[in-house]
């Protein structure tokens, strides 16, 4: 049986080579490799992998087509439920989702579902150049989508396919949200995002850039102009640690650091005008994907030493395994069970060090993870000239402030029904990080899909 073959390793740029550039790390499967990998799939009658996918991609069906060399059919099957497969193939935490359920994973390694998804999406974009199918069924109903991240793009795509006229409002000068400002080029090439957005444009979606909703125009102003509204404004307000010295020059939120480098192309300064401090010794605080992205960005900007400071142990790190692995390969120094106490600056206000304390793990806390406890007397000072704080983001309050009747929880996240994504305001739906707090691209897309379905129903029936 073909399934006994080991998982086909994705060819990658070597660590020595890739730390000097911002090009994508995996080089992609060849068609032969993709077919061979797809042939490992057991084609389970009751596929558990599908349950593990937030948008329920018909995984065995598309893999069967790949195994038979029908890449076109494969992409059609994926696109039926997933509008951004080239993105998901790269950034989904498959090891906790589809691949974690794969039966092959019990004794060996699961099928590389994510890599295969990425392969067929890339094959379509680069080789097949499929013509775009826009809906011939046009309706006169208008939909506003606020925020152009993964949730908003999904809603826009799904509703445009159904023939609705969709307008997406974006605060920045480029559409894509976290896909363009947050996730680095070496993990998600920006040409993929711009291709996806171009596809939506061709489907008839209108993008209104440089426009923040909630300041000059309130939610009800928008509601008055559209038949339904989707809010997908994300978790964009960076958290700081509230320790002394966070105002020093050289202390960044991960959002600022990554935005400077990704969206503004600070790594190409001075060809591009936005600078970013290229520290000699950099410390990143946090253990999620954003922390990994920041650390791996710093090493590519030429920093001699990059530390990743995390208060729990490797086992509790929330980042994708592949990102942790890549970061380790690239020489990032993991300072686990360590927590910062204060930043230290020189006379001109520039960061020159951080005092940290060692931690040990105690009883599990409310998150179920072991609670880190400071070890008295273990304080030490680390010399650094750039610090990047990647401990998470809160919800951006601008839109909610303009809508007093929109119910939010105590953290400022919009309250929406888990299935219908309806908010407390009729005609207004919400999904993604603005509802759940910071989560993954695919979960936001899952919420977008649910919202689109329920919005279509609302637009057809008028029933709330």
């Amino acid at each position: 049986m073909a399934s006994k073959a080991p998982r086909h390793k994705m060819p990658e740029q070597s660590p020595e080579e890739r730390v000097k550039n911002f090009n994508e790390v995996p080089l992609g499967y060849s068609p032969e490799m993709a077919i061979a990998e797809a042939q490992r799939c057991l084609q389970c009658k009751k596929p558990l992998c599908v349950e593990g996918c937030p948008v329920n991609v018909s995984i065995p069906e598309f893999i069967k087509e790949v195994a038979d060399g029908n890449f076109l059919k494969a992409i059609e099957i994926i696109k039926d439920t997933n509008s951004l497969p080239a993105v998901c193939g790269r950034v989904c935490p498959q090891e906790n989702q589809c691949e974690s359920k794969c039966l092959l994973g019990i004794k060996g390694e699961p099928v590389a579902i994510g890599k295969l998804e990425g392969f067929v999406a890339d094959y379509e974009r680069e080789v097949l150049h499929l013509p775009l199918v826009s809906s011939n069924k046009k309706t006169d109903k208008k939909v506003a989508v606020i925020g152009s991240g993964p949730a908003g793009l999904t809603v826009a795509g799904e509703l445009a396919k159904l023939g609705y006229s969709v307008t997406v409002f974006e605060a920045l000068h480029l559409a894509g949200g976290v896909l363009v400002y947050g996730i680095p080029e070496f993990r998600l090439p920006k040409k993929i995002v711009s291709y996806e957005i171009e596809c939506l444009r061709q489907l008839g979606v209108e993008f209104v850039l440089n426009t923040v909703i909630g300041l000059s125009e309130s939610l009800s102003d928008i509601k008055a102009r559209y038949d339904a509204v989707f809010i997908g404004t994300g978790a964009g307000l960076p958290s700081f640690m509230n320790i002394p010295g966070e105002d020093l020059q050289g202390v960044y939120s991960a959002n600022e650091y990554l935005t400077r480098v990704n969206l503004m192309k600070g790594y190409l300064f001075p060809e591009y005008d936005t600078p970013v401090i290229k520290g000699k010794r950099v410390a990143v605080f946090g253990g999620g994907n954003v922390a990994m992205d920041s650390a791996r960005t710093a090493i590519r900007l030429g920093s001699k030493e990059v530390h990743l400071v995390y208060r729990r142990s490797l086992d509790e790190m929330p980042a994708r395994k592949e990102e942790i692995h890549h970061a380790q390969e690239e020489g990032i120094i993991f300072d686990i069970l360590t927590n910062p106490l204060r930043f230290i600056g020189d006379n001109s206000g520039r960061l020159c060090g951080v005092e940290c304390i060692k931690m040990e793990l105690g009883e599990p806390d409310e998150s179920g993870r072991a609670r880190p406890i400071p070890k008295r007397g273990s304080e030490f000072i680390m010399d650094i000239d750039v610090a990047i704080i990647a401990i998470g983001n809160g919800s951006n309050p601008i839109l909610q402030k303009s809508a007093p009747d929109l119910q939010c929880n105590k953290w400022g996240n919009i309250i929406a029904d888990k299935q219908s994504m309806k908010t407390s305001v009729e005609g207004v739906f919400a999904g993604g990080d603005i509802v759940t707090g910071a989560a993954t691209v695919i979960e936001a897309m899952g919420a977008g899909r649910k919202a689109a379905r329920s919005m279509a129903e609302y637009l057809e029936t008028g029933k709330w």
Binding site: A171, L172, H173, Y181, L209, N210, T211, V212, L215, S216, E217, G236, L237, P238, F240, N242, E246, D247, L248, Q249, G250, Y252, S253, N255, E256, T259, R260, M264, K265, F269, P270, E271, Y272, D273, T274, P275, I277, S348, G349, N396, P397, I398
Partner: protein, 283 residues
Amino acid sequence: MYRIISNEIIKPSIGRMVVEAPYVAEHRKAGQFVMIMVDEKGERLPLTIADSTPEHGTITLIYQIVGTTTAKLSSMKSGDCLFAVAGPLGHPTEIKNYGTVVCAGGGIGIAPLFPIAKAMKASGNRVINILGARNSDLLILEEELRAVGDKIFICTDDGSRGEKGLITQPLTGILKEERVDLVVAVGPVPMMKAVSELTKEYNVKTFVSLNSIMIDGTGMCGGCRVIVGDELKFTCVDGPEFDGHLVDFESLGKRLKTYQKEETESFEQYKHKCKLEGAFNGK
């Protein structure tokens, strides 16, 4: 794209641009700002809106040429387009009838002060304007502010226009002579700091409008964070105006110097490039 209607140099290092941005022109209020990008490779720069003409869909921006972005801005011609203009952003100034309001503007800070003084006057305040600059070449909008205020004081560091001295001198005189209900100060950090320290002595409420470094201008990056009282605030979404008696100006001043080295490098390269292109064009 945002089409430039006019762009003129009004003082040796200060430009005034009128640019099409209908949404901003329609909605903007005194005290708000826009983020602009000159071109696709440009940085995002916050600029306070000096004026607008909603019926033409245009806004007026006044900028001092201090680095690459503002030099690029000054080189643009009518008919050219800005790559991005996002806004209006930030909280508008709280405009109401306070009684007597002193509007103090330093250098390029006079530009954002103008709409505030105008709005304060329109809502019935007695408005006293104080304009200060290093020298007469940096003193702008004198006539415009004279027209919207009840009284005006002018001072320059070198005495080339008005009284020789700092804004705090006429301000001290006013505070001694009459009851002032509010002071609004916009300008360089040392000026806003000095004004706030002075008004604190007289216990007069003071708004300052901060010019922090920003990337997105919508609360996403936290680069514009500033210490106000004991709290960390974001200039873009919590400001740009704050109680001058609570702002940590020292921290703000240091943060503004974060990219001094990179800004010089970028500007030198830009000037060099311009020189080469100039030579190539036979200029």
